[in-house]
């Protein structure tokens, strides 16, 4: 695990990987969403509005995956003191927040023609909104902490602890529709029970999800590279100032 702890070695792999993931993921996302929206079938009940699914569902998954990434990185940072873990965790925050916001916005737009409401405070919608606010808090905290102890190391220990604690919202989001009565429907895709989405809609949806995940990976790499370069510059400045 520590083999890639060396930023130089990490960058050697990250540099070509960023473009590769971005291009493959972006292309896949666009093609699958376009296929679903333009050529996929309408739904027997909802009609055309079901096409919002191709962005709503991948955005929901990645909004949650982003915080899973933060939680795993935070654990690696706190337990093994992995030098890149903090950087990786912080890099997940903005893309996670944007995907969570897309999930909320498209869900609201989808809710109006299907349920008859833009917003309702049911368990699923509320817990997803909480996730979005957790991202905002995490970003504010990481920035504040970096400015506060930039002198010492900028390790971001508080941020990592917050990242771990915030992870308790993930099972709440997931199980909200199973354990509580909600307006949001139950889960359509599960490992145990398979999918209740017809194959003609499921394949473009899964393709879009994979594409969005790869794109997410590319964005995380970009943000990690930006922070590593910024840190390098800062260190240099400080050394010059100390002379």
């Amino acid at each position: 695990m520590h083999a890639y702890a060396n930023p130089a070695r990490f960058l050697k792999i990250a540099r070509p990987l960023t473009g590769l993931l971005g291009l493959v993921g972006g292309t896949m996302l666009i093609l699958c969403v376009a296929y679903g929206v333009l050529f996929g079938p309408a739904d027997y009940l909802q009609g055309e509005t079901v096409r919002i699914m191709y962005i709503h569902v991948p955005a929901a998954w990645l909004g949650m995956a982003g915080w899973s990434g933060i939680a795993v990185a935070s654990a690696m940072q706190l337990i093994w003191r992995h030098p890149l873990a903090g950087v990786a965790g912080r890099a997940c925050a903005l893309p996670g927040a944007v995907f969570a916001a897309i999930c909320l916005a498209t869900g609201s737009i989808w809710g109006r023609p299907t349920w008859g409401t833009w917003w309702e405070w049911d368990g699923r919608l509320t817990s997803m909104l909480v996730l979005f606010f957790l991202y905002l808090a995490y970003m504010a905290l990481s920035r504040a902490e970096r400015e506060a102890d930039g002198e010492t190391s900028g390790e971001g220990r508080m941020t990592a602890i917050f990242g771990l604690i915030g992870a308790i919202n993930l099972p709440i989001i997931h199980y909200s529709v199973l354990w509580w009565r909600t307006l949001h429907q139950g889960q359509s895709i599960s490992v145990m029970k398979g999918s209740s989405i017809d194959a003609s809609m499921l394949w473009p949806l899964l393709g879009a999800a994979v594409g969005a995940s790869l794109l997410f990976g590319a964005i995380v790499l970009m943000r990690m590279r930006a922070e590593l370069a910024d840190t390098k510059l800062e260190m240099r400045m400080r050394r010059l100032a100390a002379l």
């Binding site: 960023t18 971005g22 972006g26 969403v33 929206v37 009609g47 055309e48 509005t49 096409r51 919002i52 962005i55 709503h56 955005a59 903005l94 893309p95 944007v98 916001a101 897309i102 916005a105 498209t106 737009i109 989808w110 109006r112 023609p113 794109l215 964005i219 970009m222 943000r223 590279r225 930006a226 922070e227 370069a229 910024d230 390098k232 510059l233 240099r236």
Partner: protein, 44 residues
């Protein structure tokens, strides 16, 4: 409202949001790495 209006609205929100995310992240990375490259060149 037509059902398609909602579909268009949903993607009308999502596409700019994703585009902004990619652009902002890419620019931050490029600017920071260019600054590092210049610094390294200056040191030689």
């Amino acid at each position: 409202m037509n059902q398609w209006d909602f579909v268009i609205a949903a993607y009308g929100v999502s596409v700019p949001a994703l585009g902004w995310l990619v652009l902002v992240s890419f620019n931050q990375m490029r600017r920071a790495e260019q600054a590092v490259d210049e610094m390294m060149r200056g040191r030689k």
